[in-house]
């Protein structure tokens, strides 16, 4: 298994509060990704990173920001959480290219009340 951890694994928060999810990898892969999974929508890309301090938006980036200050860490921040951001969030990594096979973390289940 690829060395990817996500923290926290579960979180309950209130609308309007900031939330930060962390993804940590030990594989030294260049590319890192944040997805959300919702019933009926599959996996949708939020943001991705192609290097330290290099990030770009995905399909559903509104309301989210990311930062990558080290190769191994990729943070996803919900500046002001909304109920529509209740979801399961997955981090993924890949080595050679953004279109290559990606390896996923175990996920973070977020509930926004």
């Amino acid at each position: 298994d690829a060395g990817i951890t996500q923290s926290p694994r579960h979180k309950v928060t209130e609308t309007g509060t900031p939330v930060t999810l962390r993804c940590h990898q030990t594989e030294n892969h260049r590319y890192m990704y944040w997805y959300r999974q919702d019933p009926g929508h599959g996996l949708r890309l939020i943001h991705y990173s192609y290097g330290v301090k290099d990030t770009d938006k995905g399909e559903v980036s509104d309301g989210y920001s990311v930062s990558r200050s080290k190769t191994e860490d990729f943070l996803l921040t919900l500046e002001s959480a909304t109920s529509s951001q209740t979801s399961v969030y997955f981090c993924a990594i890949s080595d050679r290219d953004t279109g290559d096979a990606q390896y996923f973390g175990p996920g973070t289940r977020l509930l926004v009340l």
Binding site: G40, G42, L43, L45, Y48, T98, G99, P106, G107
Partner: protein, 119 residues
């Protein structure tokens, strides 16, 4: 518009029989296709992939077939086992799409098919 479609939300198969999961795509620039398996409360796991230069790729009980003219791929699991019960996601990407910049070169996922293998 969905570029990668898995039109069957669920599939039920008897243990020992063949499971066939289908996936259609619309973008002719896709040239790499993947299947992922996902158990509840876990992250998706990469299963098998195929490049557009091939029409078949096998790995043990899993075979992926690609029909480029029909823009269709399928995953065959033979024989099916109860442990194969999971959600299966199809994904696609295109090398040329990366030249367009942004997230277009990333993997595009289907919505998934839930496979249930009954003992």
């Amino acid at each position: 518009d969905q570029q990668v479609k898995q039109n069957s939300p669920s599939l039920s198969v008897q243990e020992g029989r063949i499971s066939i999961l289908n996936c259609d795509y619309t973008n002719s620039m896709f040239d790499y296709f993947l299947w992922y398996k996902k158990y509840p409360a876990e992250g998706p796991t990469f299963l098998i992939s195929i490049s557009s230069i091939k029409d078949k790729n096998e790995d043990g009980r899993f075979t992926v077939f690609l029909n480029k003219s029909a823009k269709h791929l399928s995953l065959h699991i033979v024989p099916s086992q109860p442990g194969d019960s999971a959600v299966y996601f199809c994904a696609a990407s295109g090398r040329e799409l990366r030249n367009y910049g942004g997230s277009q070169g990333n993997l595009i996922f289907g919505k998934g098919t839930k496979l249930s293998v009954k003992p």
